[in-house]
């Protein structure tokens, strides 16, 4: 046999049928999450009473609106191989702070602005400490989680802070084209952060940093600046979520949003965002948030005790991570 023949045999690796099969698998891989969600949704629509009704759909969306907003920024955080545990505390603190400032000044706008600046500040501190002082993100945000929660309790003296100005409540309850404002804000977040991730240097660099921070730096990515921006924006969006939550509850509550950070991270991981960094899609995150909300909603409709909901949520997360792992292993082979 000649060399060229030997090479030709080495090169004929795939038959057309095998390639079609591989392509099909690729599609199933890429859309597995969406397919699972559609199946889940269909089954629940048929089996659970009241599930598939307009009112329930709106309620479902409203219930995941806070998680949805912050999932967008958490997606950036995880995609850059970082972590943020402080968002739950920021949600609570922003609500309390907004209520206090609004009451003191008599202006809802000033209260909202002050809370957003405060949230941005928390995020900036997180980002600066992690990027510049090179302290592990888990530890840094664990610390700020405690500190910010403390600030929320101190500033409110441990009590819910009611807002006197009625205008504040419209933020959480007003409707626009049949959907409540928080749902619109969440949809806007999905759109804006989806475009940021896919279509801007900021988003692409975030993924590059998560994929390999050293290589990204040597390729000219302003690694520190991007990391600080990620945390700063996350602080702002968490504050926004906190303000809207306070508006819905008609008061700023210092113990709001406990465990919120873990729900947000769960939604992202469920949506296929890799904790190893470098991999994230906005469609995945949206589906992750919807799956979380749908399961919760259905369990409530079925009158399942809230205590069991923890079990179900944890199990779903574990399965999602296992599936992701299997997928990666097959690709790596």
């Amino acid at each position: 046999m000649t060399d060229s023949q030997a090479a030709a045999i080495g090169a004929t690796r795939e038959t057309p049928a095998a390639r079609r099969r591989a392509l099909l698998w690729q599609v199933v891989d890429d859309y597995s999450l969406i397919l699972i969600f559609i199946a889940l949704f269909a089954v629940l629509s048929v089996t659970v009473q009241y599930f598939f009704s307009w009112d329930n759909m709106v309620g479902l969306l409203l219930s995941v609106s806070q998680i949805g907003m912050v999932s967008c920024t958490m997606m950036f955080c995880l995609a850059s191989r970082d972590f943020d545990l402080s968002v739950g505390s920021t949600v609570a603190f922003a609500g309390v702070f907004c209520a206090i400032v609004a009451n003191a000044t008599g202006s809802v706008a000033i209260g909202v602005a002050a809370a957003i600046v405060a949230g941005g500040l928390v995020g900036f501190v997180n980002g600066a400490v992690i990027a510049k002082l090179k302290i592990n993100a888990l530890i840094t945000t664990l610390a700020t989680m405690e500190i910010v929660r403390g600030l929320a309790f101190i500033s409110s003296q441990g009590q819910a802070v009611g807002v006197t100005n009625e205008a504040f409540f419209t933020l959480g309850s007003a409707e626009l084209f049949g959907l409540p404002v928080p749902v619109w804000v969440t949809l806007a977040c999905f759109a804006v952060f989806g475009v940021l991730l896919n279509k801007t240097i900021y988003g692409r660099n975030t993924l590059a940093i998560g994929g390999n921070p050293d290589a990204a730096r040597l390729a000219g990515v302003a690694v520190d600046r991007v990391r600080i921006a990620i945390f700063l924006i996350q602080g702002v969006v968490a504050a926004l979520a906190g303000i809207i939550l306070a508006s819905r509850m008609t008061s700023g509550q210092p113990n709001a949003g406990e465990g919120f950070e873990l729900n947000v991270i769960s939604a992202c991981v469920l949506g296929g965002v890799s904790l190893m960094g470098g991999r994230a899609t906005i469609s995945g995150v949206i589906v992750g948030v919807l799956i979380m909300g749908t399961v919760q909603n259905a369990m409530s409709l079925m009158n399942i005790d809230a205590f069991y909901q923890y079990l179900v949520r944890g199990t779903i997360l574990l399965i999602a991570v296992l599936v992701d792992q299997l997928k990666n292993r097959r690709q790596a082979r």
Binding site: S4, G10, E14, T200, R204, N205, A215, L218
Partner: protein, 506 residues
């Protein structure tokens, strides 16, 4: 010889989903010989070694030792049969000492506690007997990579291995470490061990091996019972499957004005100020032993490490210290030595890896990434540099080393205003065919007036490709040679520390 060979591969075949990694490969080797295995990356050498080491089970064929067919189901089976495969990625415990690594799992005990004194004496004795100069108490992480490799080999010998396979053992060794390794291999041959030696460095194959087998595309393409009278060109041609002629392909070029000027640069690691100039269209090769400070100087020039003092100018314009983006804006770019750790972003696509820097120049509305242009850029470099990938969206970690390197080069070629390219060990661990292609890229850039700096630890490569060779030793520039006057003797003599001579360094 009438008796059965020590080690024999009989009609080995192995497939993975979608890929036929090996088909019908047979070859044999005697006790007391060193058998070279050659082939481009992906030719099937590593799969072969994994079959020998019991990590893969062949679909067809079998391995026979002294004529007895073996059915290894695990690495432990292979070790039990006296086979030791030493992979490029070494297996050791960095926090433990040499002694503990060597005796792992069978440390001598006394009253249930480790008998350190006995262990130490035993280890010393064995190391001395092998002529290996290592402190048994040193922690593995404190040792150089070469020394760690030595520990690995000693471990194999102490397990009474009669068959040793070394996969690219010298890719990160200094000349002196290589020398020690070669001596050890020759001693082991004299003791009757059968050894497989995989290397991309043909000089080593000629120096060390008694016989050789060449792989291409998962098949055996040639067997040489002896390397007497076999030429380098013959081997290369059989490996690549075509005649690539003169591997360096050097042609003299015109040089322009000084493009890169480095004056008195220091960093935390580069303590003595370093200065040099590179002209437009010139390729300057930096040669030195491992640890001579070449990479460290270039990292300080580029801004990857903090530059403490000195100036760097490109076409007379100063580049800000410790500011990578400013360097890139001046057209000064750098391909790092460790491709996997610092070059590629593994989980991102080939296209992303190519476009990551240059995309800032063609944003839509100053804000949005232009996917159309980026796809075109990626495809054009994939074609021009012959990057072997199914498509531009493939994750780059799935490509071979040579193709990854070409993608990293493409990233900088995509810069409109490329003026100075610094490449650190651009061909390490890359097969001959891809090496040749990378040299051609460097030549083409030089022909377009780019000033090229190439760091390499392979002396023939430095001599073959560079217009000028700069030798470094202990963080200082110790010699400069024009293409015509540089040769192995004078460059090596300059690069060696005082008190050593060229003969005992290699």
């Amino acid at each position: 010889m009438g008796s059965a060979p020590r080690l024999e591969f009989r009609h080995i075949g192995k497939s993975f989903p979608g890929v036929r990694a090996l088909s019908d490969v047979s070859f044999a080797m005697r006790a007391g010989s060193v058998h070279g295995l050659l082939g481009e990356n992906g030719a099937g050498k590593s799969t072969m070694m994994k079959i020998l080491g019991g990590e893969y089970i062949p679909d067809e064929g079998a391995v026979a030792i002294d004529g007895d067919v073996q059915a290894f189901r695990s690495a432990a089976d292979a070790i039990g049969a006296g086979v030791a495969v030493i992979h490029q990625e070494l297996q050791y415990v960095p926090e433990l000492s040499v002694m503990e690594n060597l005796l792992l799992g069978r440390l001598p005990t006394r009253f249930g506690l480790v008998d350190r004194r006995r262990a130490l004496a035993w280890t010393r004795e064995r190391l001395d007997a092998l002529g290996v100069d290592l402190d048994p108490r040193a922690k593995l992480r404190q040792l150089s990579i070469g020394q760690r490799q030595m520990v690995e080999i000693v471990k194999a010998i102490l397990r009474d291995a009669t068959i040793l396979a070394l996969d690219e053992p010298t890719s990160s060794l200094s000349h002196r470490e290589t020398d020690v390794l070669f001596r050890l291999v020759r001693d082991l041959r004299a003791q009757g061990k059968a050894m497989i030696y995989i290397s991309h460095r043909l000089d080593e194959i000629f120096e060390l091996c008694d016989a050789a087998t060449i792989f291409r595309d998962g098949r055996k393409v040639a067997d040489f019972d002896t390397l007497e009278g076999v030429t380098r060109d013959t081997l290369v041609q059989r490996m690549v499957g075509r005649d690539i002629g003169d591997i360096w392909g050097y042609k003299p070029r015109e040089h322009g004005d000084v493009r890169l000027s480095v004056k008195d640069v220091t960093s935390h690691i580069v303590q003595r100020p370093v200065s040099f100039d590179v002209r437009a269209g010139e390729i300057v090769g930096f040669f030195g032993l491992v640890g001579a400070g070449r990479s460290e100087v270039m990292r300080a020039v580029y801004g990857a490490d903090r530059r403490l003092s000195g100036t760097v100018t490109v076409d007379g314009k100063p580049v800000k210290a410790s500011h990578i983006r400013d360097a890139i804006r001046h057209g000064l770019v750098f391909c790092p030595e460790d491709r996997k750790e610092e070059g590629i972003i593994g989980v991102r696509s080939v296209a992303e890896n190519i476009n990551i820097s240059a995309r800032r120049n063609h944003l839509t509305a100053g804000l949005f990434v232009n996917d159309r242009i980026e796809a075109k850029t990626a495809d054009s470099y994939i074609e021009r540099l012959r990057i072997r990938t199914p498509h531009r969206r493939q994750e780059i970690r799935l490509l071979s080393g040579g193709n990854q390197q070409k993608a990293v080069l493409s990233r900088w070629l995509a810069e409109k205003d490329l003026r100075v390219l610094i490449v650190d060990e651009p061909t390490r661990g890359i097969d001959v065919g891809a090496k040749n292609e990378i040299y051609n890229v460097l030549y083409e850039l030089a022909a377009h007036g780019v000033a090229v700096v190439m760091i390499s630890s392979e002396l023939p490569e430095v001599l073959g490709v560079s217009d000028r060779v700069i030798a470094m030793c202990h963080g200082r520039i110790v010699g400069q040679f024009a293409h015509g006057e540089a040769n192995e003797q004078n460059v090596l003599a300059a690069a060696l520390p005082e008190g050593t001579t060229a003969t005992n360094a290699r």
